[in-house]
């Protein structure tokens, strides 16, 4: 059994999240209404847009790993598939609207994900985790070797066309941020509907006890492949955002094993089988290197060069992973829940007279 997330008191698709609805509304108001007014280009380009793309990738991986319990070490391969598919669609089918390109890029990523998900029907645990590395290395190799995918660019790095949706060109930092935000919001809504549906329940059932799931008539093979397809679709769309909204270039090296681990870390730190987890984890992953750089500079000054920075980032990141797995396997989500309950509890205590 790969009951990965264990009795992680969070994963109950039937009813959850509802108390957060006002909070989500507030977040959307801030994200759409306030941030575009107050943020500068640095905030958009270095923090907000990559945060959105990575959060979406984390969301996709969370379906597979957090909900369905299948560990994948090859997520960035599907980001690459999404990014290259969108690039080639935009290049070769110029008349098609970009929103369609994104959907199709997701579908292509889903198809590739389905293919590499096939071993999951026979393998489990470590064996499956290792087999997902095949996707990582193979896909990266294909994009390196086959020039057609990068329009035979000699350097292998290609610039993507400017984003343009329903006739509006989105080439400003804020425009690209808003585009990413809209895509992420839409996909998150759909994922939320999915994990609360009977199919979402089937994913968790599969994770927690595959044999019991089979006995009660859950089509285990189909659900597993569905998890791979949906997860790869979302990660593929995240790849499109990464290439088109964030970097504005595509190159295979950007989708390497380190990126795959990064996405896995987002899910672990944020919280397995939790939608909020992907966002919290991505926020931490994006913000903490910047904070660390500032902190190091302030403390060590010139000694803190880029090499030292990179190494200390690795160490801190590694320590974070280990610490979360040991002390709070349900991730930032659980930490936040607990903090919230404590605050709410204090409010209740001070606001109401204690009875009995």
């Amino acid at each position: 059994m790969t009951d990965l997330a264990l009795a992680k008191a969070t994963a109950s698709p039937a009813r959850r999240f509802s108390p957060a609805l006002p909070g989500i509304g507030l977040l959307l108001v801030v994200a759409y209404g306030i941030l575009p007014l107050v943020a500068n280009e640095y905030l958009f380009d270095a923090i907000l847009t990559p945060f959105l793309a990575l959060a979406l990738a984390g969301l996709g991986l969370n379906i597979l790993t957090g909900y369905a319990g299948q560990v994948s070490l090859g997520s960035s391969a599907f980001m690459a598939v999404g990014a290259y598919a969108a690039y080639n669609l935009a290049l070769r089918l110029p008349g098609v609207p970009f929103m369609i390109d994104i959907l199709l890029a997701g579908v292509v990523a889903a198809a590739v994900g389905l293919l590499f998900g096939l071993p999951s029907l026979r393998l489990r645990g470590f064996y499956l985790a290792v087999s997902t590395l095949a996707a990582q290395f193979f896909v990266q190799w294909v994009f390196n070797k086959v020039g057609w995918f990068s329009n035979n660019s000699p350097s292998g790095i290609v610039s993507v066309p400017t984003l343009s949706v329903v006739g509006i060109t989105l080439d400003s930092s804020a425009g690209r941020y808003l585009f990413a935000l809209t895509v992420v919001t839409a996909v998150t809504l759909a994922v939320w509907r999915l994990v609360e549906s009977p199919t979402g329940r089937a994913l968790v059932a599969l994770r927690d006890h595959e044999t019991a799931a089979r006995v009660i008539g859950i089509p285990v093979l189909r659900v597993k492949l569905l998890a791979f397809a949906v997860s790869s679709f979302i990660i593929g769309v995240a790849g499109v955002l990464w290439a088109f909204a964030y970097l504005r270039t595509v190159e295979p090296a950007g989708f390497n094993l380190d990126r795959s681990f990064q996405i896995l870390f987002i899910v672990i730190i944020g919280g397995l089988a939790s939608l909020r987890g992907a966002f919290l984890g991505a926020a931490l992953i994006v913000v903490f290197p910047l904070l660390l750089a500032r902190l190091g500079e302030a403390l060590l000054g010139g000694l803190f060069d880029s090499g030292v920075l990179e190494m200390s980032q690795r160490i801190v990141l590694g320590l974070l992973i280990v610490t979360f797995l040991i002390t709070e396997p349900a991730g930032l989500t659980a930490l936040l829940d607990r903090a919230w309950n404590r605050i709410a509890g204090r409010f209740r205590r001070t606001g109401l007279p204690i009875t009995g």
Binding site: L4, L6, V130, A134, F137, W141, L319, I321, V322, L325
Partner: protein
């Protein structure tokens, strides 16, 4: 001659396969005692090689550098065991695996923070000359490396078969509770296993370091060991050896006979695809017993 060339490729592949086996055995040792697929094995290998090279570069004699490195590896191993694996003892294996992924980041970062990020050349004093053996050309360094790796494997096998600690190790691998019940000291066994794994990491690190230079990418050797483990099973030393040989041979043969048709560079994934293909036919691996699910 066509046949002779094939043999040369095959032998070259088998020899480098022995070096894969060596890395894989480091995994197997830890897996058998703790049930963990220790992803940090590659980082440990990097740490060992980097420490050894840096110490000798600072003028330490080789034997002292080896001893110091081994002591450091044992210390790190004990720390990983105490601080990471023990608190996670009842967690699903995949959680432990992800924890070792975190550990690998820490160890890699620490190794380079400590010793710097530049590439160190490592000369073991073995020339890489082509030797002709039975009409087949073989690299003398490959031969040496394979011999060292082979000796290492033999020594470990003897150690675990005939010494008290080795027997204890096998008892722990079979049944931890029972081993505890008969009064085996888990601490001592774990120390021995981590020392052994550290030793394997050092030897593998030196052999690979002499080949590739001692640098960050050394830790990626772990990625070569994973398909070996998938083939041979995570808990079988014999599997690691045979798996390593198969992966080495498949990789070299594919590189020579398939590579030119697809643009080369396939050694990054061919082993994975081969291991996967094999697993789809035999899900329990080379030596694994077919498990009956108990419900």
């Amino acid at each position: 001659m066509e046949w002779q060339f094939f043999t040369e490729v095959l032998v070259g592949g088998l020899l480098s396969g022995v070096m894969y086996s060596l890395v894989a055995i480091g995994f197997v040792l830890i897996y058998k005692t703790s049930g963990v697929l220790n992803f940090a094995q590659g980082a440990l290998l990097l740490f060992a090689a980097l420490t050894f090279v840096s110490l000798t570069e600072r003028g330490l004699p080789v034997w002292a550098a080896i001893l110091l490195t081994l002591a450091a590896m044992t210390g790190i191993g004990a720390m990983i065991e105490r601080a990471v694996l023990r608190p996670l003892v009842n967690q699903p294996p995949i959680t432990l695996f992800m924890a070792t992924l975190g550990v690998s980041y820490v160890v890699e970062g620490a190794a380079q923070l400590l010793w710097g990020t530049q590439v160190h050349g490592l000369d073991l004093g073995i020339d890489d000359l082509p030797l002709e053996i039975g009409g087949v050309l073989v690299s003398s360094f490959d031969l040496f490396a394979a011999a060292v790796a082979g000796a290492m494997v033999a020594a470990l096998t003897l150690f675990f078969r005939y010494t008290r600690i080795g027997l204890g190790f096998r008892a722990v691998a079979d049944d931890q509770l029972a081993a505890l019940a008969v009064g085996l000291s888990l601490d001592r066994i774990w120390t021995a296993v981590w020392t052994a794994a550290g030793m394997v990491a050092l030897v593998a690190g030196l052999l690979w370091g002499a080949r590739l230079g001692v640098q960050f990418s050394l830790s990626l050797v772990v990625l070569k060991a994973l398909p070996v483990l998938v083939l041979g099973g995570f808990d079988s030393i014999a599997g690691a050896i045979v798996g390593g040989l198969i992966v080495g041979a498949v990789e070299k043969l594919a590189e020579v006979y398939v590579g030119p048709f697809v643009g080369g560079g396939i050694e990054g994934w061919i082993a994975y695809v081969a291991a996967l293909g094999f697993l789809l036919i035999r899900p329990s691996g080379l030596f694994g017993a077919k498990l009956v699910e108990r419900v």
